[in-house]
Amino acid sequence: MIQISHVSKVYKNEEIETIALSDISFKIIAGEFVAIMGPSGSGKSTLMHILGALDLPTGGTYLLDGENVGKLKDDELADIRNRKIGFVFQAFNLLPRTSALKNVTLPMVYAGVPKEERFEIAKKFLEMVGLSDRMEHTPSQLSGGQQQRVAIARSLVMNPAILLADEPTGNIATSQAEEIMAIFQKLNEKGHTIVMITHEPNIAEHAKRIIHIRDGKIIEDGRRHKQLRAKK
């Protein structure tokens, strides 16, 4: 499903080169729940952006469902993001002053889904994340956890191949963070592929596989969370 081979990313800023990622290779197969861990500045966000087709690698290849993402044009990338990737951001990134329901329909607007169908699907997913009584609320009327659940509903409406979550619990109270992780685990059990960035070990524990990055390199790729516990 996801195949990253020798991917590197170098930022050039006024002749100073910053290496964010160097020679990274891994595969993620359908149904996996992967956590990417690393200290800030380790390059995990850059990796996330590349995986999400928000940014392109400067070296190496990224195959998503057999398609070489690095060769695509802006509008084709937009299409990939729309159909194959569901984003959950740390800052939720919901449209302000817009109802939860309308926020959830947004990806379908860009996919050209007919209006009635859009609202039907959006309602279904909002019910799934337990917000059937908050559909007309705007983000400012919702708690952090509720906002993130709206964002999760939004990430699912296009039935994407993978769900990318960037510090999904970073801005949420601990009690609500567990609820969010429960939703992720339920989704994974249903067969959704999830890639999550986090620096909190207890959040990463929910994943089946943990990739550690430091200074733009993979330093550990562990298949089972039991191994992580053993190390600790």
Binding site: L54, D79, R81, N93, L106, Y110
Partner: protein, 407 residues
């Protein structure tokens, strides 16, 4: 994304910040409003001038002494002595095809006294066919007859303005007498009011006397001031003008038309000149108004640029969720166009109101040209596209991660 969704979303966004939206639109309101008001007033003025000139008769050729050559020293109108009554008679006797009437006139100003009242007005010595040539209608009494001309009769036909100056408004003065240069004249008729002041001064402030009386008894001259030639129809104007021209050159023994000691012009010439002048004024006014429209457009662009910067995160999010470039461009262009078209429509209403009020205040006919209304809406839409394109392009070209990171 469907158009209706785009429009609804744009209206939704614009109403979030009403003050800013209002101020951004104001520039367009003022711009379109002033263009409509000034163009409409200009056209009203033009119409008024045209109507006045056309009331003088459109199939009329006028021959005046002296040449209209740039650089020549010209004496005061009416003091040139080269045109004679014989010239008018020659034109008439030549039986040129297309000529209906030939009339000769001598115009001077003089003091006219009746009882205790007096006025300074224009005295016009005319032939009996003057009535037909100038399409004058008689309100009271009769017009001058051929016999009055041949007998040097001391009779006068008055314009309504002179009647009200000398005898009082609405009074029938026929049969009464008045004095011009101490000579007593009997009033035999009054013309119907023509109104307006075109070529030849106010057509109502006039005293018509037999040409022969004016020449020999009133002013002691042997020349005439002008010859009026009434032509059958408009198509024959040019041929008749040419024929009269060559005939008069011949009579005055002048070889080259460049040295002619007379000028022939038609009402169309005056109309054309007047149209040109009012046209220039209208264009000038519209041009000044267009500058405010341009400033309004820049205002829209400014606001749109601010909006794009403010909504960088939103744009980033939309792109992350799959919005293509053209969708982002369409979204921001729609906002800009709605702003300018709303401004255009409001400005149009204000412009029409303003021109309606002003044209009433200065007694001009109120004209409303539908072309300028449609043009106003089209132009405001074009301004929206023109000044919205750059901010919209800027938004569409934002990189999604940079836009998402933006604080």
């Amino acid at each position: 994304m469907e158009l209706i969704d785009l429009v609804l979303e744009a209206i939704n966004t614009l109403t979030l910040n009403k003050l800013r939206t209002g101020l951004a639109t104001l520039g367009i309101v003022i711009g379109i409003g002033s263009v409509i008001a000034l163009v409409s007033l200009g056209q009203s003025g033009q119409k008024a001038v045209e109507a006045q000139i056309e009331s003088l008769g459109s199939n009329l050729l006028t021959v005046i002494p002296g040449a209209l050559r740039p650089g020549d020293i010209r004496s005061a109108a009416g003091t040139s002595t080269t045109l004679k009554l014989d010239d008018a008679k020659a034109i008439e006797n030549r039986k040129i095809v297309g000529i209906k009437n030939v009339s000769a006139e001598l115009l001077r100003r003089a003091q006219v006294v009746a009882g205790r009242n007096n006025t300074n007005t224009q005295i016009v010595g005319v032939l009996a066919n003057y009535q037909e040539v100038r399409s004058l209608k008689i309100a009271f009494g009769t017009f001058l007859k051929d016999s009055d001309i041949s007998s040097l009769a001391k009779v006068a036909v008055l314009g309504p303005q002179v009647v009200s100056d000398l005898f009082g408004e609405g009074v029938n003065p026929v049969g009464q007498s008045l004095r011009i240069n101490r000579m007593v004249f009997k009033v035999i008729g009054v013309t119907v009011t023509k109104g307006g002041a075109g070529f030849g001064g106010n057509q109502d402030d006039i005293v018509l006397v037999p040409l022969s009386t004016a020449q020999k008894q009133l002013f002691g001259v042997d020349f005439i001031g002008s010859i009026s030639v009434q032509v059958e129809n408009k198509e024959q104007m040019d041929i008749v003008r040419e024929e009269i021209g060559y005939m008069l050159l011949d009579r005055h023994k002048i070889q080259s038309p460049q040295n002619a000691d007379f000028t022939i012009f038609s009402q169309a010439d005056i109309l054309g000149a007047a149209q040109q002048i009012t046209g220039i004024f209208t264009t000038l006014l519209a041009g000044i108004a267009a500058i405010s429209l341009l400033v309004g457009g820049i205002g829209i662009m400014n606001i749109m640029l601010v909006t794009v910067t403010e909504r960088t995160r939103e744009i980033g999010l939309r792109k992350a969720l799959g919005a293509k470039k053209k969708v982002i461009i369409a979204q921001f262009l729609t906002e800009a166009i709605i702003l300018t078209i709303a401004g255009g429509v409001i400005g149009m209403v204000f412009g029409i109101l303003a021109s309606f009020i002003i044209s009433h205040l200065i007694h001009l006919p109120f004209t409303l040209s539908f072309i300028s209304i449609i043009l106003a809406i089209v132009i405001s839409g074009v301004i929206g596209i023109l000044f919205g394109l750059y901010p919209a392009g800027k938004a569409a070209n934002l990189q999604p991660i940079e836009a998402l990171r933006y604080e």
